[in-house]
Symmetry: none
Subunit: 131 residues, 4 copies
């Protein structure tokens, strides 16, 4: 389900982390769901298990999944929405950089909001198809 893209400049393990987080937000993966084992996913994507392992470790660090030794990896059922000033500052910096690029690309604030709405709709679209 996660699609790797060679043209994407993000490292493969980051693409995996982001891809799984996207599926969680879209509701494709739900709390308690077991995800593919490291070897299964590595085989499916034709990459080394090392890379998948790294992604899963990062996902566990971010409390997106929990690893149960000898059993598998599961989507965390604890809502991990802990707001932190630190994280907000980090996101604000990223957003500022994006706004600067947005300007230099010739787009304005209104168009930014439009695209954000489009993205938010997209992120929730899958959930409704399951209903």
């Amino acid at each position: 389900m996660v699609i790797l893209n060679l043209h994407d400049k993000r490292p493969i393990y980051v693409q995996l982390v982001d891809g799984i987080k996207e599926q969680v937000i879209k509701g494709i993966l739900k709390p308690g769901d077991q995800i593919l084992s490291i070897r299964q996913l590595a085989g499916q994507l034709s990459i080394t298990p090392n890379t998948v392992s790294r992604a899963y470790q990062e996902l566990e660090r971010q409390k997106v999944i929990i690893s149960v030794k000898g059993k598998g990896n599961y989507i965390n059922d604890v809502p991990n929405f802990k707001r932190s000033e630190e994280k907000m500052e980090e996101l604000k910096k990223l957003l500022t950089q994006l706004c600067i690029e947005w300007n230099f690309a010739g787009y304005n604030r209104g168009e930014l909001i439009e695209v954000i709405d489009e993205i938010y709709n997209n992120l929730k679209k899958e959930e409704s198809t399951c209903q």
Copy 2:
């Protein structure tokens, strides 16, 4: 004027590129302005001229500045606000990733718009102080 941040994961030359683009948007640097020479800026920041050179070459490629050999570097008078499908796709991907992070950090769409407004105000703040 540009401040380097050692904790920032972006390479130094990217921080320079972003920093100068930010000053252009804020109106601190205006079309036609000559910016610091490679050696001057390198000295000021205690980095190798090579790194500044790389930043300036990237800025020229993006048409933010023009480099005149033997003379110096100048903020481009031709605004490079040409919209391109390609750039929009790139920005949309970045924005999607950011929205996902935003969600996992526990914030919603409304709060995103608020922060964007704050950023837009900030980017125009300097200009108004000159009036």
Copy 3:
């Protein structure tokens, strides 16, 4: 395969860029082919890896190759034949300069076409030897 020419006024990294693009057009390098690693090519040509790296980065910017960190560089499978007014204007200027030189060298339009045909034949020669 790429041959550097010390008498050539073009910088080494530009000679590399042009040389590889020539091989792509001749069909010697095909989409998907992995090219020599930075270190391999640098060793072969007895130049610093930095210079090869710069050439490869320029080739990636031009979408001739794609660079995959930790893996290598590959000839891009997506042909980058997007016409742009801007590029055409640039080429027209170069061509005008060349025509002026051509005149001062004592040659006429007919001879120019002849040489162009010769060049076009040359650029496709390799491909036909493979058939």
Copy 4:
């Protein structure tokens, strides 16, 4: 009459050399014509006389003009159309590079010929307006 362009990557003295050669080909400057003195041209273009001097030296080397000490600089009346193998090889290399770029820009041989015809018409247009 010669127009300098900061966005042009050629050094100023080369732009001068090329500009004057273009005027000779167009018939704007004719054999025997006296051209502006170094100081006149430098003043007109707001550049240092040093740079103009360098351009004139290069033009004399190429036998486009002749300098008469104490009198001035004149367009050479000796047709300087000496074909040389060496010059042809140099032009062929330039032309090959241009053809490669032409291809990567998405244009073909036919379009190249069209643009060449357009350029040749342009270079002779001025002459006919004088008739």
